[in-house]
Symmetry: C2
Subunit: 157 residues, 2 copies
């Protein structure tokens, strides 16, 4: 019987008590992070971009010639996992990878012109997605949210 009341589950999709979970920051952080991630994916669908990849592009854009490992450390990505991620970006023609002049073990990363363009257009879509999803927050609340999140990041090391 679709649409009928589920007595046992208290209106089902409506309010289900979460118990102690509701008072935990970690739970709400997981849910909110998933909500933003899903909306990000919807907003940027079809462009091949992903949260991690955009993060790498943004750091390279701000630090042309930066080493692959340094990018990983800045973003909390393991060396081993950086390899295939950067491969994707290189294969897509967005990033150029060349042996560093001062350290022949290292790879210096720079954006190609296509990579710069992709970073710009992605950023526009991402800003629009955040503005839409976070339209319920005032500018001050949004600022304070970032401040609180940054302090938690810093505490977790």
């Amino acid at each position: 019987m679709p649409g009928e009341k589920d007595v046992q589950a208290e209106l089902d999709t409506d309010i289900i008590a979460l118990g102690a979970l509701d008072g935990l920051v970690g739970y709400h952080m997981r849910r909110a992070s998933a909500a933003i991630g899903n909306d990000f994916a919807r907003a940027i669908a079809g462009t091949g971009m992903r949260q991690v990849l955009f993060g790498i592009l943004s750091v390279i854009a701000a630090n042309p010639g930066i080493n692959q490992g340094t990018v990983g450390r800045a973003l909390g990505i393991q060396r081993a996992n950086m390899v295939s991620l950067v491969n994707e970006l290189v294969d897509a023609g967005l990033v150029q990878r060349q042996t560093a002049v001062d350290d022949r073990r290292a790879l210096a990363l720079t954006l190609t012109p296509e990579g710069e363009e992709k970073t710009r257009t992605s950023l526009e879509l991402i800003r629009a997605h955040e503005d839409r999803l976070l339209s319920g927050l005032s500018a001050g609340e949004r600022e304070q949210l970032i401040d609180l999140l940054a302090r938690i990041e810093a505490a977790g090391d």
Copy 2:
């Protein structure tokens, strides 16, 4: 040369500019969520508990006899993925699963006495972990953080 300055990377592990990324809520949310998740895992290591599993236990504790699918909807977990998660909890002796009296398709979930004990002891460890990790936030800031996160969860549907 360990410890020597990495000119190209601006002191390396120190301040690396993140570019546009630094102004995005999504980025900081991902990092903060990972920080809490990692600290959660460290705090509860050896007990076999995980964030998702505790979430399920907490919802069952607050709603004895609740259907498996209802738990999943409350927590944003797909029906298909609930199966093996609940299997784990049943195999660990923490959850009892029996055909619902009013709907023979459904499974009613309840905690076993061991499940109730596990939920209690896990909650103590989790509260201690959050109190430690979030000790830099005032009670008011913590409360506002949960409020902001909950509003973002609600916006993402």
